[in-house]
């Protein structure tokens, strides 16, 4: 019986070429199964694999032996054992993670995400659902719609699954009672309406007995609908939806085999493209036209959603990983503040204001939750106030990213609206999110015009604001010199402020360490604070190693021309190490101090500083004088 549905053995034996030809045109359906611990989920999947002959004789022998040893079905085969994979969970008798199973029929290949049903594993269900086209929600006919049913349905809906199958299981244990079945459907419909699930397909089944799984059951003559497998084989996959949307492709990798070829590789998220199409690269304002669609099998005349391709453009333009190629006349929105739903997946709670790394499409940015609007109670769907998000918590939040991100709302394009959050210290994936909309467009965000502006602030202090940026190795004398400069300026009646390790690292930046990423963020924040202070009319001095050119350039770009003064405190490392007042070099040489500039982390000296101080020739006092003098103070 099963053979007829899954594998046409006869055709395979008679004409393998015809069979292969037929099978090359199969489509693929990915679905998840959700149910509570005892709803019979593993049994159902085991049954689908078993009936599809995906279980071979040797596996069957193991299964039969295992069934007798640890099974829950007496001497009968326990199908659940087919899918409960890891040894640890087999002993506990529960599935604890997402497992992927495969089976195929003549029409389709199926990938099943088997996700656990109990409460603490919302994380796993969201993970499994994120790649699914359809959700099979299991209900125990004896128990009806439970809290867990609601939770699973809500999560499936949240992740954007439009196709829901309500598999009312264990019908054998309620004597295939139609009234019971209809009652459950009624209950579920009321709930489905409440959370916005438009339609669903209900099927009365028994995973254990095989009713309405692959063939119509004689025990449910009152049921006229499809069997579960029939439905899975024929349900329309929403394949046309993405192809009908505007073209979007996030650049994954720039393909440069030689100087004559520059291709942009990526997987097309939506729409389609052909040579000659005018395109725009976002973020930015660059435009060009598609020259070729390059593949190993020759150039394509067109390519569409889902395909991995390499595009070349007619013009030599800058385009790198993280940027998105769109039609010139249908660009994406670019923003740095969003409202999003966040699902938290880590033991350590999400804290608003803490910086995480966000990966969206092929780009990464630093992100903070600026405001948690409410949490969703997945059992009652109630909106509840909250300050943090615990493991498995779901919250609607405002978030802000460190840079502008091209995006689409998740509901319209999951590839460009879904993101993960990564812990900056241990690199774990701690959360997942779905963008609803941008709070405002960053690229046309005007600063509020205020009457008391930076000119007014400076004028009242009778000075020109400046940022005196001292950079150099640890022990080069930056802080000593900066202190002396500030004293002299103060004596001249100037309004100054000195930012250094002691007042920044212990407060504003105490969450940052000394990895490259943290150093970058450290400098970015200092730059922003200094910017605010110069807006307030102050002369700001900073004394930080600031080892990377790119960050110093980033800060420079925040300021009007002439206001940023880069001062290179030039001390050779041997000299700095000889001074080593705090004993840091010694620790770093021993390996006790990691990422120490000059030892195991690079220092990139300024190429064209406004002022260069050679401390092997000048004392600190002389250096301070020289700085004041060379500024030829227009204060």
């Amino acid at each position: 019986m099963a053979n007829d549905i899954y594998k046409t053995d006869e055709l395979i034996a008679r004409d393998i070429d015809a069979y292969l030809e037929k099978h090359q045109h199969k489509t693929m359906l990915r679905f998840i199964t959700c149910g509570s611990v005892d709803d019979g989920k593993s049994t159902l999947i085991g049954r689908l694999l078993y009936d599809s002959k995906m279980i071979f004789e040797d596996q069957l022998a193991v299964l039969e032996a295992d069934s007798k040893r640890v099974g829950t079905q007496g001497q009968e085969i326990d199908f659940a054992l087919l899918v409960d994979g890891l040894a640890a969970e087999r002993e506990q008798g529960i599935t604890i993670d997402v497992a992927y199973r495969f089976f195929a029929t003549d029409r389709r290949k199926f990938i099943v995400a088997d996700t656990p049903g109990h409460e603490q594993y919302t994380r796993n269900m969201v993970t499994g659902a994120s790649t699914a086209d359809l959700a099979v929600i299991l209900i125990d006919a004896r128990k009806g719609v439970l809290t867990q049913t609601r939770r699973h349905s809500y999560l499936a809906h949240l992740v954007g699954i439009r196709n829901i199958v309500l598999a009312i299981n264990k019908m054998d244990l309620v004597d295939y009672d139609r009234a019971r079945y209809d009652g459950i459907i009624g209950d579920y419909r009321a709930f489905a309406d409440q959370i916005g699930v438009g339609s669903f397909q209900a099927i009365p089944i028994s995973g254990l007995k095989g009713d309405n799984i692959t063939s119509k059951s004689d025990a449910t003559p009152w049921y006229q609908g499809p069997t579960l497998l029939e439905y899975l084989e024929t349900v329309e996959i929403d394949q046309t939806r993405m192809i009908e949307r505007p073209f979007r492709m996030a650049v994954q990798w720039v393909n440069r085999p030689n100087l004559d070829f520059r291709g942009f590789s990526g997987q097309i998220a939506s729409g389609w493209i052909k040579p000659g199409d005018a395109v725009r690269i976002l973020p930015g304002s660059t435009t060009s036209t598609v020259a070729r669609i390059v593949t190993l099998d020759g150039d394509l005349s067109e390519a569409g959603a889902g395909q991995s391709v390499t595009l070349t453009l007619a013009d030599e333009i800058d385009c790198s990983r993280g940027q998105v190629i769109t039609p010139a006349d249908q660009p994406l929105e670019v923003a740095d503040q969003f409202e999003a739903t966040i699902v938290w997946m880590a033991e350590e709670p999400m804290i608003p204001g803490r910086a995480y790394i966000m990966k969206i499409g092929t780009t990464q940015a630093t992100v903070t939750v600026t405001d948690e609007k409410y949490q969703v109670n997945v059992n009652t769907m109630a909106h509840e106030p909250g300050k943090t998000l615990a493991l498995n918590g779901i919250g609607v939040c405002n978030i802000a990213t460190s840079k502008a991100i091209p995006f689409e709302p998740y509901a319209e394009n999951p590839d460009l609206g879904g993101f993960i959050l990564i812990d900056r210290l241990n690199n774990a994936t701690v959360g997942a999110g779905m963008i609803h909309f941008a709070l405002r467009r960053s690229h046309n965000l005007p600063w509020q015009t205020i009457d008391v502006d930076r000119t007014a602030h400076a004028a009242i202090k009778n000075q020109q604001p400046r940022l005196l940026w001292l950079t150099g190795l640890s022990g080069s004398g930056k802080t000593t010199i900066a202190n002396l400069v500030e004293k002299k300026l103060h004596a001249m009646g100037r309004h100054t402020f000195l930012l250094d390790g002691t007042n920044v690292r212990q407060g504003l930046n105490k969450d940052l360490g000394f990895t490259d990423a943290d150093r970058v963020e450290n400098i970015r924040r200092i730059g922003e604070v200094a910017k605010l202070m110069t807006d307030a009319g102050l002369i700001v001095l900073t004394a930080f190693i600031s080892p990377f050119r790119s960050e110093r350039r980033m800060v420079r770009q925040l300021f009007p021309k002439g206001e940023f003064v880069e001062i290179f405190i030039d001390t050779p490392i041997e000299v700095a190490e000889r001074r080593d007042q705090k004993g840091l070099y010694e620790q770093a040489r021993r390996g006790d101090l990691k990422n120490f500039t000059g030892i195991d982390s690079a220092y990139e000296p300024p190429e064209a500083p406004e002022i260069r101080i050679d401390t092997t020739r000048l004392s600190a006092e002389e250096a301070a004088e020289a700085i004041i003098e060379s500024l030829s103070m227009s204060f």
């Binding site: 053995d9 395979i12 034996a13 393998i16 069979y19 292969l20 099978h23 045109h25 199969k26 489509t27 693929m28 071979f56 004789e57 040797d58 596996q59 899918v83 994979g85 890891l86 040894a87 993670d97 997402v98 497992a99 992927y100 199973r101 495969f102 389709r108 290949k109 990938i111 994380r123 796993n124 969201v126 993970t127 394949q239 046309t240 192809i243 994954q252 990798w253 291709g263 590789s265 990526g266 997987q267 390059v294 593949t295 190993l296 099998d297 067109e302 959603a305 889902g306 395909q307 991995s308 990983r321 790394i357 990966k359 993101f419 993960i420 990564i422 241990n426 690199n427 994936t429 997942a432």
Partner: protein, 299 residues
């Protein structure tokens, strides 16, 4: 635009995974075992980076006990792809003369498990592509596409990252590495169909031919070279055999078959009743053995 077939979707997904790795890690490598899955993986790599040569070397963790046909194809495949081929043999296993006849599971431990760790450490690779599929074995059904290994190469089933959508988190601390499985969602049939469709070159041992064999412990073993010690009463006989999976020749059981073409092999596979891994001696102990191997660092 026509809808993508399941093979086109799988191909596109694998290419996407490979490009992510190359874009995000420092020193990737492709583990190349010369088997049919490796052949598909290598073919996909060529597609992913064309017209560039795949920007990573191939690494074969050798045991010196592979089939001679495998060594021949190994050299040719690397040459055809224009890729660097690194062959690593655990010096300790060489020194101790470890072989599958005398040393049982130690053979796999030292040559493969230890050899792989040593090779990754020696070259400083921080990501290694492997051809494993989730459909191969139960414990692999839960394996991530990006599987994290601690600095001492251990796989911790409790500490794997959730994978959502197409977003793979490749960030890691110094010393940690990632095993990446671009073929995670392929099944054995998908692999064969793809080889057929794309005309990918595979080791001839997958096709049936008369070969010298003995039957030992219920397995049909091929006497591939002079190092095969015959036990009393064993006699070498020509049998028409092929292999469903390839490894060290003294550990790999053949099936008797008349399938001399790829389509005939697929035909036999579809009508067959035993699973692919049964030909491998290491899995037979208990059904959770692969999981234990994996925790110890076997690929």
């Amino acid at each position: 635009m026509p809808t993508l077939t399941h093979l086109q979707r799988l191909e596109s997904e694998s290419i996407h995974i490979m490009r992510e790795v190359v874009a995000e890690v420092e020193r990737p490598v492709m583990l190349y075992s010369v088997g049919k899955d490796s052949a598909v993986m290598l073919h996909l790599a060529k597609k992913a980076f064309h017209p560039s040569t795949p920007p990573f070397p191939l690494l074969h963790v050798d045991t010196t006990w592979k089939f001679q046909d495998m060594y021949r194809l190994r050299e040719k495949a690397a040459r055809d792809a224009g890729m660097e081929l690194l062959v690593y043999q655990n010096p300790e296993a060489i020194a101790r003369g470890i072989n599958p006849f005398d040393h049982g599971s130690l053979h796999t431990d030292l040559w493969k498990t230890e050899g792989l760790k040593q090779a990754l450490d020696e070259y400083g690779f921080d990501a290694a592509f492997g051809g494993a599929r989730r459909d191969e074995e139960k414990s692999r059904a839960k394996e991530r596409v990006f599987s994290f290994r601690s600095a001492n190469h251990r796989w911790d089933p409790k500490n794997q990252r959730p994978e959502l959508w197409k977003l793979y988190n490749a960030r890691k601390a110094k010393g940690e590495s990632i095993r990446v499985f671009p073929l995670s969602n392929w099944t054995e049939l998908d692999i064969w169909q793809y080889i057929h469709l794309e005309q990918i070159e595979i080791v001839p041992l997958y096709l049936s031919a008369p070969r010298p064999t003995v039957i030992r412990d219920g397995l049909i073993l091929m006497v591939d070279d002079h190092r095969f010690p015959l036990r009393d009463g064993e006699e070498v006989r020509m049998r028409s055999i092929r292999f469903r999976t390839l490894g060290c020749y003294p550990l790999t059981g053949a099936v008797e078959s008349e399938a001399t073409t790829l389509t005939e092999v697929i035909q036999e596979m579809l009508l067959t009743t035993t699973s692919e891994r049964q030909g491998r001696a290491i899995d037979h102990d208990q059904s959770a053995s692969m999981e234990k191997k994996k925790q110890e660092g076997y690929f």
